[in-house]
Amino acid sequence: MAWFKRSKENISPESQKRDIPDGQWIKCDSCSEIIHKKQLELSNWVCPKCDFHFRIGSEEYIKTLLDDGSFKEMDKKMKSGDPLEFEDTKKYAARIESTMSKTNLNDAVKTGTGKINGAKVSFACMDFKFIGGSMGSVVGEKIARAIDKAYSSKMPMIIISQSGGARMMEGAFSLMQMAKTSSRLARLAEAKIPYISILADPTTGGTTASYAMLGDVIIAEPKALIGFAGPRVIKQTIGKDLPEGFQRSEFLLEHGFVDMIVQRKDLKETVSKMIGYMTN
């Protein structure tokens, strides 16, 4: 028999969590501040209290970066072909179908042309919510074509990456997209057309090890996870805890792998300025 017996229900940390119903109010993942959706939209999906940059999709980035109504989408209908008829706990084809209807997207990247303060650009933005922003044949092909558009129309290339890496369910095809996109960027570079790479949270694996790291200028959002191997794998390999801030934007800036860290509200002006310096 215990000396003390709690007569009332346990007070757990769970019950202190500020749970809120879906709808107009959103809780900040970092400081738990409750923010109205409209307010969040006005602040570019950045927490007004703690500056946490919410993970946002291609639609939101188009609004953030491109001039209103200037975006013209390319290859909108391209879909995955399931070349391996891949199956894990679920069939890949079924996974694609359900993700498509859930996200209203056809794959993990949107590409097209648009304007940034009047300057025409070729634009690609990934979507993390589509199978972890993974790069398969569709992502590779769409990005390659966007780079071709930049090449043939002589306009700067802008890519926003947010991706867990190459897509496992397309096996070696996914791997080859790294070579496909990088070789197109090499041709773009020969033609002296600028490429600005923007890294959002998270950018890892094959995406980082191809186009994400090949920008003439590389811009990272604050505190984004950027790396090749994921932190869990590294921790397992070295058998030690990882230092605070490891693989975050600030860490990459310190070690010389990104040019700058830019707040989302300043992203458009910064990109615009860089385009100005690299084009006539």
Binding site: M168, L175, I226, F228, F246
Partner: protein, 316 residues
């Protein structure tokens, strides 16, 4: 030796040991006929087993510790190999080796992943897992080859780029990305051969080229079957299924039109006969180089761009 016998090799080894045993009494007893019979049986058994290996079994063969590694091929195929060290920025990475060599009368640059055969050499070679310095050394050597107009041969055999703290800090992703970018526009022929394991970006980091060859019992994919199992099945136990799902053998990749050619291995695998596989590979490399060296640099680069551009399956 005994520890390196794979499960499916056991019946073959058993029979071979039996024949060996019988040979001892060959002179005294009249068992010549029986031996011949058994030998036929072994050959048939081998053909049967090696024609019907599962994908996971091929992965096991690709990892066989007695398989020839890059330096073995260098010693067996080439003359006058001169190893060149260091990335000129930070240090020398022993998981990637490279240097000039003579392939018959052809001056070439050969670069490859290098594994170790025992604990000590594996630690020295970091199990064939390069750090960024390895990729930067490889690129330096490729640019050197380009400068003096020598074809490049790369030999791929890695369980992956090293997922370490320093590797990340020193830009593992940037180093691999840079290599893909530069290899795609290198002005000399590049022949890529997967000689063992072709694990993901760590392999592709020296794997962009004009001709991609795979030895018969090797694998090449976006992820190892074990890691794939742990991510998609959330358990390490589904590696066999993962290997099947990933379609990662030489035959699979030829069907997927990702590689150009399969190099046949001696019956039982490359580890059974180092000299034979090195001879076969040498012949094929000479053949490929003969074709590639005829092509003008501009055309070579254009073809390479189109080659990788055509890879991928999608619906429009």
């Amino acid at each position: 030796m005994a520890k390196n016998i794979l499960e499916f090799e056991k019946p073959i080894i058993e029979l071979e040991n039996k024949i060996e045993e019988m040979r001892k009494y060959e002179d005294n007893l009249d068992i010549k006929e029986e031996i011949t019979l058994l030998e036929d049986k072994v050959t048939k058994l081998k053909e049967n087993i090696y024609d019907n290996l599962t994908r996971w079994q091929r992965v096991q063969l690709a990892r066989h510790p007695e398989r020839p590694f890059t330096l073995d091929y260098l010693y067996l195929m080439t003359n006058d190999f001169v190893e060149l060290h260091g990335d000129r920025y930070y240090r020398d990475d022993n998981a990637i080796v490279g240097g000039f060599a003579m392939l018959e009368d052809q001056k070439v640059m050969i670069i490859g992943h290098q594994k170790g055969r025992d604990t000590k050499s594996n630690l020295f070679r970091n199990f064939g897992m390069p750090n960024p310095e390895g990729y930067r050394k490889a690129l330096r050597l490729m640019k050197l080859a380009e400068k003096f107009n020598r074809p490049v041969i790369t030999l791929l055999d890695t369980p992956g780029a090293y997922p370490g703290l320093e590797a990340e800090q020193n830009g593992q992703a940037e180093a691999i990305a840079r290599n893909l970018f530069e290899m795609s526009r290198l002005q000399v022929p590049i022949v890529v051969v997967i000689i063992g394991e072709g694990a993901s970006g760590g392999a592709l980091g020296i794997g962009v080229g004009d001709r991609i060859l795979m030895l018969e019992n090797t694998w090449y994919s976006v992820i190892s079957p074990e890691s794939c199992s742990s991510i998609l099945w959330r358990s390490w136990d589904y590696k066999e299924q993962a290997a099947e799902s990933l379609r990662l053998t030489a035959k699979d990749l030829l069907e997927q039109k990702i590689i150009d050619r399969i190099v046949a291995e001696p019956l039982g695998g490359a580890h059974k006969n180092h000299i034979k596989i090195a001879e076969t590979l040498k012949e094929i490399l000479l053949e490929e180089l003969k074709e590639l060296t005829k092509i003008k640099p501009d055309k070579l680069v254009q073809n390479r761009l189109e080659k990788f551009g055509s890879m991928g399956v999608y619906v429009e």
